[in-house]
Symmetry: C2
């Protein structure tokens, strides 16, 4: 068995997210496995670095799968891109170490949330940004972001109420920038809980508009309650940029 | 009557082009006039700088219309963007000189044709580029482009066989560049005939793949026959970038 590593780009707009959902399958994982099964005649299981929600995009999702195929990596790349829909592209196929696992070995993830905040909405990137005409106080947002950096229990930023595993995660960095009416928030961390980036985004946006005081962020973290944090920002503005190992 | 000038951005993918077509109206001009009629209660006629074909996009189409409205330019901008579909945005509304006419006064137009020529197709810009995995000889294309610069009778590059008006136009500049698998052709000229940019593009692509010798371009121009030139490149890779006055 060879262990293959894929780097995948997708427009999540019309998919029900990364993770396979039984037979009613409109997921990125499902589309990939279907093509891999057809290609190999095997029953392939593909492991993504993590799930992305319905409507969330990826510039660099990483996944691995094991197969007995005799095809080389170039042939696999071409086969996958021939049979996958145009809103999913495999950017590279590499042979990975036998024990490489895209989820278990992921060290850090970079997510980007983009808000189209210009006077007039952008036409060409409209499906990859969330539109808002609110006025944001960037200094307040940056101050709030500083409180989120480091290792914390992010239970307040998790939409899975029945989460039994640890909700402790480390956020390495949050970059907030504003150029030509585009507000960009870059999140780097060792792992993110269900909806965590979208709740972090919604909370920072609430700080930006003055609904939440940046100095309240430590209390919001300490509350360990979803109700304490801000809203869950919509999926279309979110992009999984890169996974590092 | 006040003469208003609009700067308009649109994703042409789902439209039948700029120019209004009677009642079965799925055109950019038609959408704009419908909203303007509703806004003013008048029967507005809007003049674009030129038609764009079905499927062609614009970053900066210019148009003008006359109205007795008492609304100011900010109010018009907001009204239009509230009622237009999201794939058409009005980027600015200005008061123009009474005799300003978007088509008759246009001095120069800049069109861009983009080919996605990378090993793997781009997901996010897929609707705004034409996909091709051919290998292009850029030096040959640039040599061919040099022959096209200047004032010529471009009848060979016009898909309107019944064209009765002059087919003489001036191409000021053609820039051909290649970065990260993206082939970009920028055309600047005082006016373009029906399908002219797409036929220029198809001809240059045919030169790039060796089907046409760059030294044959003067003969192709001289032939004054559509059959002499290359193919009509598909619309989705074409963008009207800017109109100058």
């Amino acid at each position: 068995m060879t262990n293959f590593r894929l780097n995948i780009e997708y427009d999540g707009s019309r998919f029900s997210g990364w993770q396979k959902q039984g037979n009613t399958d409109n997921t990125i994982q499902g589309k990939l496995e279907n093509v891999l099964n057809k290609m190999t005649g095997e029953d392939i299981e593909i492991h993504g670095s993590g799930r992305t929600d319905a409507g969330v995009h990826a510039l660099g999702q990483v996944a691995n799968f094991k197969s007995n195929t005799n095809m080389n990596t170039d042939e696999i790349l071409d086969y996958l891109n021939e049979y996958l829909p145009l809103d999913i592209r495999v950017k590279s196929v590499e042979i990975a170490a036998p024990r490489f696992h895209a989820r278990l070995n992921a060290c850090s993830k970079h997510y980007r949330y983009t808000i189209d905040n210009g006077r007039v909405a952008n036409v060409f990137m409209r499906k990859y940004m969330t539109r808002s005409t609110d006025t944001y106080n960037l200094d307040a947002m940056k101050k709030a972001a500083d409180f989120l950096i480091g290792e914390h229990d992010f239970k307040s930023f998790c939409d899975n109420k029945r989460m039994k595993k640890s909700t402790v995660r480390t956020i390495e960095k949050i970059d907030i920038s504003y150029n030509d009416g585009i507000l960009t928030m870059d999140f780097y961390g060792n792992g993110f809980l269900y909806h965590m980036v979208r709740i972090l985004t919604g909370t920072l946006l609430n700080v930006g508009t003055g609904k939440i005081n940046p100095d309240d962020i430590p209390d919001i973290i300490d509350a360990k309650s979803r109700e304490a944090a801000g809203f869950t920002a919509p999926p279309q503005g979110l992009m999984l940029v890169e996974v590092t190992y």
